[in-house]
């Protein structure tokens, strides 16, 4: 018998989510914004697995988490390609200096 409950896992995911949001808002470097997005996706996955575990061990939450991981991989590859293109064009990856849609 253990005292670790669903709420413990939810608290950790809430803290991770908030840290990710903070990184997305405050960092200037686009790579750091990507790291914040990865933190947010990880916190969502912890929630999926925690609910899956504590609501009677059905597999649905784990399936959702698998698809989140798949989409995170695809998103990271595409985002890195876009960031490399931005660096080639503007010679910077600071998100507040990239304010042109067309030049």
């Amino acid at each position: 018998m253990t005292t670790i409950t669903l709420t413990h896992f939810l608290f950790i995911s809430a803290i991770l989510f908030s840290l990710g949001v903070y990184a997305v808002i405050t960092r200037r470097n686009a790579i750091m914004v990507l790291m914040g997005i990865e933190l947010i996706l990880n916190s969502a996955n912890i929630n999926f697995l925690a609910f899956s575990r504590y609501s009677g061990l059905n597999i649905e939450g784990q399936m959702a988490a698998i698809f989140v991981i798949i989409l995170a991989a695809a998103e990271a590859a595409i985002a890195l390609a876009i960031v490399l293109n931005i660096y080639k064009r503007f010679n910077t990856v600071n998100v507040d200096e990239i304010s042109l849609l067309k030049d």
């Binding site: 990184a23 405050t26 784990q62």
Partner: protein
Amino acid sequence: MNLYEIVFYFFAIVTVGSAAVVVFSRNIIYSAFSLLFTFFGVAGLYVLLNADFLAVTQLLIYVGGILVLLLFGVMLTSNTISVELKTGTLHILPATILVALLVGLLTATFWTADWFMSKRASDIAAQTTSKEIGDALVTTHLLPFEIASIILLVAIVGAAMMARRENPKSQIPI
């Protein structure tokens, strides 16, 4: 305090502490490397949640794939002449207020909500989930599985198209 709790608090501290280093560090290389420990900690939490297959997948894809991609991004987009890997910050005060409100709201919700808890959830022995996940992927979740494969293919082709060096002959004048 039994073994489960000790392991839980260890992974919780590793996850939250290294995530804080990721967010608050000024050096982007430190951030990238402490993201490694965050992913390890989250994988440990997955094991505690009876998700062994997900934990291994997390290690393979996040640590082996996404983290390496992020490090490549850091290396390729920093000016190597002026070795400045610092990352600036903006909107500190509004972000702090917003995030404090957010974490307060989330924890209050999680604390007060009357979650449905299965009666047998507390005394379930650990069991492997690979077989059930494999069964679900080819029966009930077959369509999302195939769509995910197509999404991955499109992402690979698109990323390669966008990131490759342009042919100098066909270069469009900027």
